[in-house]
Subunit: 285 residues, 4 copies
């Protein structure tokens, strides 16, 4: 394995998703025969000490304090974007224009305009053999992959409904602290983008059809949350006193909608119906 | 029991729901201490022979071939309406004006205009002590009754979501035959009214809130079905040849929607979100 | 229906099972075309007032205070035994010898010796066309009936395991009161006979095989229970004070075992393995 | 992380469990703050080429073709035993006597005699600060760890039953090939040891009680299986022709039993009852 042609990765961001991606880059070649061997070449973070500590813990060979440096380095083949959504477009477009392959976390962008610019950059780069993808990780879960195969083989007949629910409970506690994920200026959206994006992608990917219409409700059930020191990650929270200063939640914490599918390539297919819940801070016990 | 004051019932219709109601009238006083003792006094049906056979099988004391005769009889206290929806308004209003109590199957009516006239008649009759209700039978299922009690006691906290699914599979077979339930001129609607009505009532009844807004999709996945001889009931179907003459399905066989709740009496409650599927001819195996 | 040839029933006992049987006799002919029409001719109970009240509530035409009188009456065709197990053998054998058909509640008897005498009486009576059966009601539940059909059709292949659990929770509360079901002199056994009997019958009936060996554990987790006034039924219990006088539970309240099956008629089948829990006073919440 | 004191691991065996352990040694320090930093120092396997290929794929620094060499090396602190059960005792005792810490896969040994000798060696070594453990990996699954905490905190009250099922289906196909796991001379037992061992350990560990009596049934439903080239692992199998040469399965492929627990340190606790299925080659679809 160690002798194969390398895929030298430069990762931007090292919090929750950065840790997950580090694990994936490190582990994949141990279980699968890959055409290229990932190397954890460099990780970028604005705070030098924190980035160096993360690099040590997560196994990266070097550190940069500006993601632009990752893109300039000629010993890096791929830029892995694990930052909040408001930075995706700038990093991804710069990387693609520099001829780096790009893996970008979902949701792809915080606006349609950004996503369209990113798509254009990706299409242009693709002509030079530069690859790009968005990190919809559930496509490789065995159950979804099998479902997609069943659909493709026609074993499920015509699809009449797609039902999807993605329920997380970590925000059901009104004292769970603020994170950047609840700040619209960084995350762009709340449950709709953070977990609803997975449902939307899975529904389209498994069904082989695209959504052609939608009716949705967004709600913010907990409009303020205590401010904790560390707002970077997903993780647990300690005993925040109930009189801690509170920050304003500027995104939805529940998303519910129905949609129509376009029936894919076959115009004779009937419109399809789907619906699901996004992340919902429900109390389940 | 046999010596208590009687409640003399006249039932209109004797097919699927008529059989269910007969069972209920016969059984309830054996398990519960009721203030009045139901008597299965008379059943009405247009076909005299069929009505007489049904009366014999279901245990009714007498037969009428015109529902108006039930209303005229002074030995009948309550009219139980088990007919298709297109006849509900006329029968119910006539019964209420004649001072008979009314139990009417759901969905209450085939149009809002009919329902409003029925409500007005019921309110007028109520001043004379005449009772009326719509047959939302699920209110008495133990699980729903317990859920409502939990809501009323505040044990569930603020309600954030109501999710409901009512899935039936008897129409998933494209060769399941036509019934009056699939004929809009009789039933008014399809899965939305037939089973969605239960979900809507249960959601409002358990939550103690009313729906204040809705976005919906209706679909008819199987637009034609074989015509069988007997179109009155729900029941099974034999081996209908695939080239049997086919009738047009004029109602939805799937209904999906999201709704907002009004927060009940308390204006400070946030709008609520709900969604569910109506009857859906999905293949589950 | 009312004109068909009658099946005149005399029922012994009118508590929990008596109420259930009354309901069944009353209801079955309304839903099924039966060759004979059940009539609720007479019910027997030792206490005349209580028996008469039960007859009125449950719909029986007459009352006897000695089950022997039911057997003597020539207007009764079938004896339905709904009493505790310690009386089954005497009543059933007397009825069979008098030429009455017998339906006997499960468990059939409180000892193998009793059961063998009952079987002998039933076999002798059968030669005169007298029918008898034990009330294993689950055989007619649609799921079990379908499972049996699948086994008979070979659609499940060779059976390798039978797993069964019958879990009831009404005795999980250590303050649930004594009933005759917990008194070995009346019931003969506890969860093993009361609900385990259903599992054993279902396992043999669905598989088409007989149990040929067994290893079992019986436990009595709650050895004493408060004495309430009414020990006849299953039903609910109020707020028994914790210092109410207590009676000794003399049967198991949990039964667990493994068994081998004999492979039925086919000697080439391998021994089969089964296991299940009987009633277990577990707390599930 | 890279600067912490190392724990230099020597692993024996590199098949299914060897790959899993390699992953664990590599990953644990990335997610947890460990007092020692695992190093994948050497792996041992009899076939030099295969061992070298495995070392490369799984990330081991060096290779030995005799496990005794691992024990002799003074740059190795811990011996990780991932071989079939028939070799556990010899390797573990030699390692302990050489002062190496030992992690041994389950089931610990193929006989009680072996297990007792291993225990004695471990107790002797423990006095010199040498640690040893058996690889019951499920103890760290969050659900079981939480269950154990609930038991310890008394939140479940007195335990009355322990029910456990460990169902695998990879042997339900009678054409799944032979592996060493089905050869008693190597594995010692079948489903009982391979997966039943997990259930037994979990039941004792979560309940805090030890099994004091048992009644069991072992079955071998598929007595012969096709011989494939590679018998080392668990993995998938291709299209083995049904006339491939077959090997004899010499262990159980199902294990079912009931057991009593001793009530732990408190003699006043009642005997407890448990039961479970081991691996069972059932067809679930």
């Amino acid at each position: 394995m160690t002798t194969g042609k390398p895929l030298r990765v430069g990762m931007v961001g090292y919090a929750f998703m950065g840790a997950a991606h580090s694990h994936a880059w490190r582990t994949a070649p141990r279980f699968f025969d890959l055409p290229l061997q990932p190397r954890l070449t460099a990780v970028a973070g604005r705070n030098a000490d924190a980035a160096r500590a993360a690099a040590d813990r997560l196994g990266w060979e070097s550190v940069e304090t500006d993601w632009r440096r990752l893109i300039e380095r000629d010993d890096i083949d791929l830029i892995d974007i694990c930052t909040p959504g408001n930075t995706h477009a700038e990093i991804a477009i710069a990387a693609l224009e520099a001829g780096k392959h790009v893996l970008c976390e979902k949701p792809l962008a915080n606006s349609v305009e950004e996503a369209e610019r990113m798509t254009l950059a990706a299409e242009t780069a693709a002509k030079q053999g530069v690859l790009s993808m968005c990190g919809f990780s559930y496509r490789r879960t065995p159950a979804l992959a099998l479902a997609k195969r069943f659909v493709e083989q026609g074993r499920l007949g015509d699809l009449r409904h797609v039902r999807a629910q993605y329920l997380q409970d970590w925000l059901s506690d009104a004292n769970a602290p603020m994170t950047w994920r609840l700040d619209k200026s960084k995350s762009g959206s709340g449950s709709l983008g953070d977990i609803g994006a997975h449902s939307i992608d899975a529904a389209q990917w498994v069904s082989g059809q695209n959504i052609s219409g939608v009716s949705a409700l967004l709600e913010t059930f907990v409009p303020e949350r205590p401010l904790a020191g560390d707002l970077v990650g997903l993780g647990g929270h300690g005993d925040l006193s109930s009189d801690a200063p509170r920050g304003k939640v500027t995104v939805d914490d529940a998303a519910v909608f129905t949609a129509k599918f376009d029936g894919g390539a076959s115009a004779s297919l009937k419109p399809r119906v789907t619906r699901w819940a996004g992340r919902t801070p429900c109390v389940w016990s």
